[in-house]
Amino acid sequence: MTTTAIETVPRGGEWLLEAAPQETIFTPERMTEEHRLIQQTAQEFTNEVAGHTEQLETKDWDLTRELLRRAGELGLLATDVPEAYGGLALDKASAAVIAGCLGQCGSFSATYGAHANLAILPIRMFGTDEQKQRYLPSLVTGETVGAYCLSEAGSGSDALGAKARAARQADGSFVLNGEKMWITNGGFADLYIVFAKVDGEHFTAFIVERGFDGVSTGKEEHKMGLHGSSTTPVVLQDVRVPADNLLGEVGKGHKVAFNVLNYGRFKLGASTVGGARGAIGESARYAASRRQFGQPIASFGAVKHKIGGMVARTYALESMVFRTVGLIDGTLEGVDPGDGGAILRALEEYAVESSILKVAGSETLHDVLDENVQIHGGNGFVRDYPAERHYRDSRVNRIFEGTNEINRLLIPGMLVKRAVKGDLALIPAAKKLQDELLAPSGAAAAPDGPLEAAAAAVGMFRKVGLAVIGLAMQTYGQKLSEQQEVLSFAADIVIDTYAADSAVARARAAAASGATGADLQADAAASYVDGAAMRIEATARSAFAAMAEGDELRTRLAGLRRLLKVTPANDVRLRRRLSDAAVERGAYPL
């Protein structure tokens, strides 16, 4: 199954330079019949899991394992694995759709993610044929459960600073020693992907079975949320690991770790869409039934503004997720599913987009769930309603799979690297923009309609992003990576640009097809763009002020004003319409 009709696939980051042709942008509306059926199966399974929430929160790992086996039976663990190893080798859109459904059940979603993304994927990508034959079939059925052991007490973001050691033995085997922290599925997994340094310096991945002598797990962590998922230390004490269980090459562990994270981030972004959609349904239904001052609180503007905002942001996030998966699948179209190298290249090509999805997904979900608590009022703060659990469960999304801070540094960092390598024509575009800003401006034709106005605004967001990154490269040169604040500002602008661009492209496609609900999509896109314009302006001002002063700063700010001459939309009206639709539907309405 492939996402259809993506002709020439745009390269990673290209959307920052110019608008992509409509037909290259995959949207939820372009899902195939199979995608929809997969979504239905995944949603039915998610509902089944949700029914077990209370029991799962007692840390009933037998039930967790049973549910994983059930997921295996349905094929939900098989999407990324070739048929030769018991998988189904489906496209990444199928995987994203599944993640989106399971994202509604916090704890089990973490269990599933650690297993399907972090344990299955490294073996599938870097394992030898023998390793794949040995481990993948039972991971795909859920009979064995996997976990991924990268972090340590002293090395989280600085993953390569791990202290775990692997001592080479004369017979080619290794003896591992060390302690890994915060390991999802740690308490009951059968198989661990462990990173340790060979001879104290060569960062390397290993497949470690729980049954190996010297493998033990510590106590369950007392966590803020995700009480139904296992998180423990994993202790390795003189664990003899056969040479056959070396994963990839000695000293190439970083390749395993970072590529897996590229995929993990994309999948995390996809899963947050499900959580956000679910919470919008909860808010809409609660606001419809909760009466104050003699009327449902859904009739109050303050509540509508919240629900409308939740819908608009989720719409933009969902548009980005589908667009990105379309890019990845487009690149992989016609590629032999057994060709792990091609999949790695595709994930690397869109690593910027994956980091964007990780940050935007976790923060959109966080804000949506925060408003969900708020709309539930006192009931949002007590455990009788799921709102407080969602809020706690989602908090870790901003921390794991690379903190949002690390990802914010990566986003512009990787764009600049691609520019320097010649993979992305960012530097000429930034130069051209500088000339354009110095030239006298002509009056631009007024855009035709709110969606076209939004599209024109997105064109300006691109230019602001280029101006900020261009000035940063010019100002700091090789030392740009030390400027974390400016890099984070640039990341925020780039994230908002990708989100706004993806939302507008999707809404325009809906309008062009004359689909019912196209008006509502246009409202969501316009509302998102309206908010993004204000955020981008504020962030760009901070960025320029950090890099320039005096006359130069004033010139930059004048240029910024020229670019962001965006007439504000009537966001009150837009969000009211979005909220009314959500309340009528009792669910996310798009």
Binding site: M1, E33, E34, R36, L37, I38, Q40, T41, E44, F45, E73, L74, G75, L76, A78, T79, L88, L90, S94, T516, G517, E584, R585, G586, A587
Partner: protein, 255 residues
Amino acid sequence: MKTAVCIKQVVTRDWPLRPAESATWVRDDDASFEMNEPDAYALEEALRLKERHGGEVVVCSAGPARISQVIREALARGADRAIHVESDALSAAGADAVAAALAAAMQDESFDLVLTGLQSDDQGFGQTGVVLAERLGLPHATIIMEVDIAADGAGLRVKRELESGWFQWVAMPLPALLTIQSGINQLRYATLRGIMAAKRKEIRTVPLDGVASQGQRILELYVPEKTSATRFIDGSAPEAARELVRLLREEARVL
């Protein structure tokens, strides 16, 4: 054994219902649709019978192009092939029109057993199955809870649901048509493998022969009006109770 399962596509249960402008059906142009629930149980029963007795399960459905969604779903769950009588005139059609359309497409197939859901979640007349049986010239039994096929395959025993918790076992010959009650088995989900396999299964699309029957039409559809008239009955409890019974019998006419 060759089994047909008739499946209808209906608007999803949680869709907010509003009458369409025509006021003869609900507004469904932007609705989401799903498999009629009793039909899902009929399909499940057919798949279980196939697992026990072998043979083939054929999905039969009549309606506009959009119903291919539930046909694919049935194939993904394990049906072998499908017949789709395609016509826009059959969207929101009554039992008479649907049964006529299905019968025309099914009669040459010589099915041993035809299963339908007991009724549809939208119109709920419970007639499509029995009218279809008549048109196909088959004996039928309704509200079936259990299906037991004789070892020699010559006939079957079925358990019918009656009123007040009573059941009835009926022996009948094959071929036959049964309308299946909801909840009689545990529905399976479509596995991802099944979904991918369904892509390669045959859906035979046939046009509607002639025009859709107009034997039965919905003249007007409206939302029930809410009234909140409350009447207090005075007097002692025995007197008030007597008066209440009289009012319920004579005025409200519900007793």
